[in-house]
């Protein structure tokens, strides 16, 4: 069953306390981030219903938000998600080649996860790192100035985290 620990519930309460009384729905996006992080990297229907119950709102209010924002995963993803930017400024600096290289290295296409459940490859639109292109987001951080060698190192680093 999906349920936040007592510690996380304190975090949930502090998120709700940021808004005036009765405006607890504003905590929805922060709560979905927390839920995604705590419950396996994606939002199942069960997780979304649970979040709805915490905020005393209807489940549909959660679904419509979860489906709108690109950072919420509605399907299971790999342990490490490579989110590679492909917008103009990154493209000018060779992001297409980086994406091709990752595909080849991990033997998956965009939107796919490796058979061992380790890696997912996603393409994303501009993440605000245009001066440090090409780049990708990995978890909470950016990896910038990507080269093939750097991609190799990142894959190695992720594998070693096992």
């Amino acid at each position: 069953m999906v349920k936040f620990t007592e510690d996380k519930m304190k975090e949930v309460q502090s998120m709700i306390d940021r808004y005036p009384e009765g405006k607890q729905k504003s905590a929805l996006i922060p709560l979905l981030h927390l839920a995604q992080q705590e419950f396996g990297g994606w939002l199942s229907a069960e997780t979304m219903d649970y979040v709805a119950s915490l905020l005393s709102i209807e489940p549909i209010e959660v679904y419509e938000v979860a489906t709108f924002y690109s950072m919420f995963n509605l399907q299971p993803v790999g342990k490490h998600v490579f989110e590679v930017c492909q917008t103009g400024p990154c493209m000018l600096n060779g992001s297409d080649q980086i994406i091709d290289y990752i595909k080849q290295r991990l033997n998956i296409g965009v939107g796919e996860t490796t058979a061992d459940g380790m890696f997912t490859l996603k393409t994303v639109e501009c993440l605000g790192a245009c001066g440090y292109a090409p780049m990708m987001q990995l978890g909470m951080h950016y990896r910038e100035h990507l080269t093939k060698t750097k991609v190799d190192e990142i894959i190695e680093e992720c594998r070693n985290k096992q």
Binding site: I29, Y69, L92, E125, G131
Partner: protein
């Protein structure tokens, strides 16, 4: 060296922390402002001539003066840190390196506007910056510059950081407000404007990060002194995030009197085109503004030098000019294909359209498909006219400016680089093999020694 008002101290060791920031003169703007009447602070900002740094360039003081002040209704200040315009990464830089500057500006602005509860809405991907801002907020609070009864004046203010979750549209102020209310980022129909009916139906001001940070030097110098920096209606300094095919990509603070040519070729800024190549084109103000070929970028249609300021960059309108926008400066070298680059932008806008208005929801998808077809070598001549027709039917026909923002890059690409589109449809085999466009667009230009 140009005068720096925002980033001067950004690289002092430890400036992220309160003690160092304070030692370097930080929070004097708060001390000064809180001795004044709130309306006088608004007047100073009006006098400074500060224009919104998010992209639209609307006068900040004027925007503040529109804020409704009904009795017994809370007012809100919201900082727009949803920086998502391709080519733009200046707010990230400012928040990452000198977070207290934003917090200081927010305290002053909150006081001026009477906001006791202020929110920073930051794009979800800037996850690590949330911790940096929250640390700065906690420090400011410990030191009495935030929280209850600030500096004993009786003014209370709390600042909270709200993370978005990946949606460019939330940079539009009413979409941002919707998102902050826990909803999809669908822009609202205006009027009513947020100044009358914004967050939770209350009067609200939404300002960009850089705009709010600029309030600090305005208070320190005084509005009139601030207005003396820069030129004409482009007062103060502007952060430019430069990227693409240049030697020194990064964030630069400029006073708006330098020429575009100096900005691109001087070692103080971009350091010239990378790999010894020639300049082909540039999008000077974030992906939404018109692309300009090298000759029109460096000189206006009248043959005058073009400068890095609001007026000069827009000289000639959309026919031969562009816009300052967000300051996202994207440079393309001679080997880059304008069709391909425009395709990535069209894909971006299709991905980011909220889907409320048909012209934008459908039109952005059509534009992407046609551009993809042309780029793939499957295009026909009528596709170019079709593309032109679609962008024209999006522009001005949507609730929010995302439709315009999607239409303009396509329109400008066709306007200035029609030959390149034609080359694609006339050389279908060739453009399947090579990913670059026509190098001859890089007109011979004067490069300073």
């Amino acid at each position: 060296m140009a005068k720096k008002l925002l980033l001067e101290k950004a690289h002092v060791e430890g400036i992220r922390y309160f003690d160092v920031y304070r030692r370097e003169g930080g929070y004097q703007a708060v001390e000064k402002a809180l001795k004044m009447a709130p309306n006088d602070v608004v007047e100073e900002v009006k006098k400074s001539g500060l224009r919104g740094r998010g992209g639209a360039g609307f006068a900040t003081g004027l925007k503040w003066s529109f804020l409704a002040k009904p009795e017994g209704v809370p007012r809100y200040l919201v900082c727009n840190a949803d920086e998502s315009e391709p080519g733009t990464f200046k707010d990230r830089y400012l928040m990452e390196f000198i977070p207290h500057l934003l917090i200081e500006g927010l305290v002053v602005a909150s006081y001026a506007l009477g906001s006791n509860r202020t929110y920073i809405y930051i794009r979800g991907e800037y996850a690590w910056i949330v911790a940096i801002l929250e640390q700065a907020i906690a420090e400011a609070k410990q030191n009495g510059f935030l929280g209850k009864n600030i500096l004993g004046t009786g003014f209370d203010c709390e600042i909270y950081v709200q993370r978005g979750a990946g949606a460019y549209i939330c940079g539009e102020e009413t979409a941002l407000i919707e998102s902050l209310e826990g909803k999809r980022g669908n822009p609202r129909i205006k009027p009513p404007f947020p100044a009358i009916k914004g967050l939770w139906g209350c009067p609200t001001v939404v300002n960009n990060v850089e705009t709010l940070a600029a309030v600090v030097p305005i208070m320190n110098l005084g509005g009139e002194e601030y207005a003396k920096i820069g030129v004409g209606r482009s007062t103060g300094t502007k952060l430019i995030s430069a990227c693409g095919n240049i030697n020194k990509p990064g964030v630069y603070e400029i006073d708006m009197t330098i020429s575009v040519e100096e900005f691109i070729y001087s070692d103080e800024y971009c350091g010239g085109i990378a790999n010894g190549k020639r300049l082909k084109a540039c999008i000077p103000g974030g992906s939404s503004v018109p692309i300009l070929p090298a000759n029109l970028l460096l000189k206006t249609a009248k043959g005058e030098t073009r400068y890095m300021n609001y007026e000069s960059l827009s000289d000639g309108g959309f026919a031969t000019g562009s816009m300052m926008g967000s300051g996202g400066f994207i440079v393309l070298d001679e080997d880059q294909c304008v069709v391909r680059h425009t395709l990535t932008l069209a894909r971006f806008y299709r991905h980011e359209s909220c889907g409320q208005c048909s012209p934008c929801r459908e039109g952005t998808g059509w534009m992407e498909k046609i551009l993809q077809k042309i780029e793939n070598g499957d295009g026909v001549k009528t596709d170019i006219d079709l593309l032109w027709d679609i962008q024209r039917k999006i522009e001005g026909n949507t609730i929010c400016p995302l439709g315009d923002a999607a239409a303009w890059p396509v329109a400008a690409a066709i306007r200035h680089f029609r030959d390149e589109f034609e080359w694609h449809v006339n050389n279908r085999e060739l453009c399947r093999k090579q990913n670059y466009g026509l190098a001859h667009y890089a007109d011979e230009i004067h490069v300073p020694a």
